[in-house]
C-alpha cells in the first residue's frame, strides 16, 4: 500500500480495515474487551461477583478473538481483494468459525456448559461484536474518506513559511547582478521546490526523492546564510528504495534553520541521520538549540502538522518524538516509520 489508506470508492458495501495494521489490531482488541466488560456489567446484579464473571468471560472470549485476528491477518490480501459485502461475509465466517471451534474446545475442558443453547448464545455474541466492529471501521473510513483525507493532507502540506519565500527571493535579487549563474540556479531550485509543494502529495515517495528535495531547499538557505549553515548527512546505511511520506524532511529542516541556525551568532550544524532497523526506518534531524528558543509556537504547529500526516499515512505505526537536550545544546526530532520499499507497490 503506497497511498493513503483507502478502499476503492466505487465498491459498494462496508469498507474493510487493513487487518495487518497494528492500529486496527489495537482497536479490535480494545473494542471487543470493552464490549465484554459491558456484557459482564449487564449480566450481574452483584458487584462482588464481577471479577469472577469477567475472568470467566475472558476465558471464553480471548481465544477466539486472537484466533480470528491471526486468521484475518493471513487472509488480509484476499479480504482486500474481495472487499465490500463478500469480504464482510468472509470476516463473519472467520469469527463464527473460531468462536464455535473455541466453544467446542472449551466444552471438552468443561469450562462452559455442554449444551446447544450456550453455543448459540456465543455465536450470537460473536456475530454482534463482529458486526459492531465492522460498522465502526466502515464509519471511521468514511470519515477519513479519500476526498476528506486528501483535502486534509493538502491543507497540511501547503504550508511553507512566507518568511522563507520572500527572503529567498530577496537573496536571488541580491546576487543576480554579481553572480547571475547562482541566481539562475536558485530560481530553478525554488521552482522545483514549489512544484513539489503544489502537487498532490498523497503517495509515498522514494527516499532519494525526498533527499534530493531537501538538498535543494538547503542549497537555497545556503545562499542566504552562507557559511553559517553547515549540514551533515548520514544516509549511507539506509536503503535508497525505501518509501516515505512526501514533504516530511523539508518542513523539519525549515524549522531547524529558522529556530536553530538563524538566531545563532556563529555557524551551526544541522545533522540528518537515516537508519534502518528491521521493519523500521528512522529519521533523525538535529540542530543547535540557542537559549530561549526551546518551545516555540510555530515549531509546535509544524510538528503537530507532521504528526497528523504520519497518522494519515501509517495510522499508529509511526512515531514522532522531539527532544531538547540542554546539556549538548541540541534539539532533535526523531521519526520512526514502517519500512516499505518501492518494489512491492
Amino acid at each position: 500500500m503506497s497511498s493513503i489508506r483507502q478502499n476503492h470508492p466505487a465498491s459498494s458495501g462496508p469498507r474493510l480495515p487493513d487487518f495487518t495494521n497494528q492500529g486496527v489490531w489495537l482497536r479490535i482488541l480494545l473494542g471487543v474487551n470493552l464490549l465484554m466488560l459491558v456484557a459482564a456489567l449487564a449480566a450481574n446484579q452483584r458487584f462482588a461477583a464481577l471479577p469472577i464473571e469477567i475472568l470467566t468471560l475472558a476465558g471464553i472470549v480471548e481465544l477466539p478473538l486472537i484466533a480470528s485476528l491471526l486468521l484475518l491477518y493471513t487472509l488480509n490480501k484476499l479480504l482486500q481483494h474481495l472487499s465490500g459485502m463478500p469480504g464482510a461475509l468472509l470476516v463473519f465466517g472467520v469469527t463464527l468459525l473460531t468462536t464455535s471451534t473455541a466453544y467446542v474446545f472449551n466444552m471438552h475442558l468443561n469450562t462452559v456448559a455442554n449444551d446447544q443453547g450456550g453455543l448459540l448464545r456465543a455465536l450470537c455474541w460473536a456475530a454482534l461484536i463482529t458486526g459492531a466492529l465492522l460498522w465502526y471501521f466502515d464509519t471511521r473510513q468514511r470519515q477519513h474518506s479519500p476526498a476528506l483525507a486528501e483535502a486534509r493532507l493538502m491543507a497540511l502540506t501547503a504550508r511553507i513559511r512566507p518568511h522563507f519565500l520572500f527572503n529567498s527571493l530577496n537573496a536571488v535579487l541580491g546576487v543576480i547582478r554579481t553572480e547571475p549563474r547562482r541566481a539562475e540556479e536558485a530560481l530553478e531550485e525554488l521552482s522545483d521546490l514549489f512544484r513539489v509543494l503544489m502537487r498532490e502529495n498523497r503517495e509515498l515517495v522514494p527516499l532519494s526523492e525526498e533527499i534530493a528535495l531537501a538538498r535543494q531547499y538547503l542549497s537555497l538557505e545556503r545562499l542566504r546564510l552562507g557559511e553559517r549553515l553547515r549540514v551533515r548527512w548520514d544516509i549511507e546505511s539506509c536503503p535508497p528504495d525505501a518509501l516515505m511520506p512526501p514533504l516530511m524532511l523539508q518542513p523539519l529542516l525549515e524549522n531547524a534553520v529558522y529556530h536553530g541556525i538563524e538566531p545563532l551568532g556563529e555557524p551551526g550544524e544541522i545533522a540528518i541521520v537515516f537508519s534502518h532497523h528491521g521493519d523500521e526506518l528512522r529519521i533523525e534531524i538535529s540542530n543547535p538549540c540557542p537559549p530561549g528558543a526551546a518551545t516555540n509556537h510555530g515549531n509546535q504547529m509544524a510538528l503537530a502538522n507532521i504528526r497528523e500526516r504520519l497518522m494519515l499515512f501509517y495510522d499508529l505505526e509511526a512515531r514522532l518524538d522531539n527532544i531538547a537536550e540542554v546539556d549538548s545544546g541540541r534539539y532533535t526530532v526523531r521519526i520512526a516509520i514502517p519500512y516499505r520499499h518501492g518494489a512491492t507497490q
Binding site: 520572500f166 527572503n167 537573496a171
Partner: protein
C-alpha cells in the same frame, strides 16, 4: 537631477544575510542619481552596528536600514539601544514577512520596507527623511522594553543582560553596572536609567541604583566609616547577594529601602 547641493545621505546597512545587503547596495546605487547617497558601513547584526557607530562620530550616519530578524541583537533591540542616545541615526526597518510586526509598524508610524525592496519604495522612504524611532513607539513593538544595556570597551560592544546587573553606580562621567562577574561602563545617565528601569532598580543613594531582587538585607555602618562620599551621611549599608561589598544608603533614601525590606 535638481540643483540642490545637499551632501549625500549617509547610510548604514544592517542585515545578517550577505545577499540582502548586496541587494540594498545595488538599489542605493540605482537611485543615486535622484537621491545622492553613500553607504558608509555595513553590519551583520545589532552588536556590530553598535560597534560601527561607536567607532564613528555620532553624526556620521544619517539613516540605518535595519533588518528585524538577526542573531545576537535583533533590529528592534538595536533600535531600542539607539533610542536612548542623544545623537543616533534614524532607523528604517527592513523585513521579509512578519504580519505582526508590520501591523505594529503601521500603527506606530514606524518606517519600514518589505523585502524584496523596490527601488521606488526605497526612494520614497529615504525622501521622507525618517525621524529617529522614539522609545515610546518601540515600546509598542516590544512591551517588555530593553532587556540589555550595552557597554563599549575599546570598540567592542558587550551586551549586559539587565537581569545580571546587581547595581548601577554613577562615577564621575560614567555609570558602571556591576554584575556577579565584573563591572561594565555604561554611557547613559543614572537618572534616565532610573526612569526607564524603576521597576527593577531602587535608588539607595544619590549615585546608586540597586536591583530590588538582589538586596538581601541591611546592616549598620561602622561608625564614622570613611567610604561615604557624603561625608559620614550614610548610616546603613545594603547587602547584596553574590556580592561581597556593601553599598551605603543615603538618609534621604533610607525610608524607601526600609519599605522595600518590609515588603519581603
Amino acid at each position: 537631477m535638481t540643483g540642490t547641493i545637499n551632501p549625500p545621505l549617509r547610510l548604514l546597512i544592517v542585515d545578517d544575510e550577505a545577499p540582502a545587503r548586496a541587494r540594498l547596495r545595488d538599489l542605493l546605487g540605482d537611485i543615486n542619481g535622484e537621491l545622492p547617497n553613500i553607504v558608509v558601513g555595513e553590519a551583520t547584526d545589532g552588536v556590530e552596528a553598535l560597534e560601527f557607530l561607536s567607532r564613528t562620530p555620532a553624526t556620521a550616519v544619517d539613516i540605518a536600514l535595519v533588518d528585524i530578524r538577526m542573531p545576537r541583537l535583533d533590529g528592534i533591540g538595536l533600535a531600542q539601544q539607539l533610542a536612548v542616545r542623544r545623537e543616533a541615526p534614524a532607523v528604517i526597518f527592513t523585513t521579509a514577512y512578519d504580519e505582526y510586526a508590520v501591523r505594529a509598524f503601521d500603527l506606530n508610524a514606524i518606517d519600514y520596507l518589505l523585502k524584496p525592496v523596490r527601488a521606488s519604495r526605497l526612494l520614497t522612504a529615504l525622501n521622507r527623511l525618517p525621524r529617529g524611532t522614539d522609545a515610546a513607539a518601540l515600546r509598542h513593538l516590544a512591551p517588555e522594553g530593553r532587556t540589555h544595556l550595552h557597554s563599549n570597551e575599546r570598540g567592542r560592544i558587550h551586551l549586559v543582560p539587565l537581569t545580571d546587573i546587581l547595581f548601577l553606580r554613577a562615577e564621575l562621567k560614567y555609570v558602571t553596572a556591576q554584575t556577579r562577574e565584573r563591572e561594565y561602563l555604561i554611557e547613559e545617565s543614572l537618572s534616565h536609567l532610573e526612569e526607564e528601569f524603576g521597576e527593577r532598580f531602587i535608588r539607595i543613594h544619590r549615585n546608586c541604583l540597586a536591583a530590588r531582587n538582589a538586596i538581601t538585607g541591611v546592616e549598620r555602618a561602622a561608625s564614622e566609616s570613611g567610604d561615604s562620599p557624603d561625608g559620614g551621611e550614610a548610616r546603613w549599608m545594603v547587602l547584596l547577594r553574590d556580592f561581597a561589598g556593601k553599598l551605603p544608603v543615603s538618609r534621604r533614601q533610607w525610608s524607601q529601602v526600609k519599605a522595600l525590606l518590609r515588603e519581603e
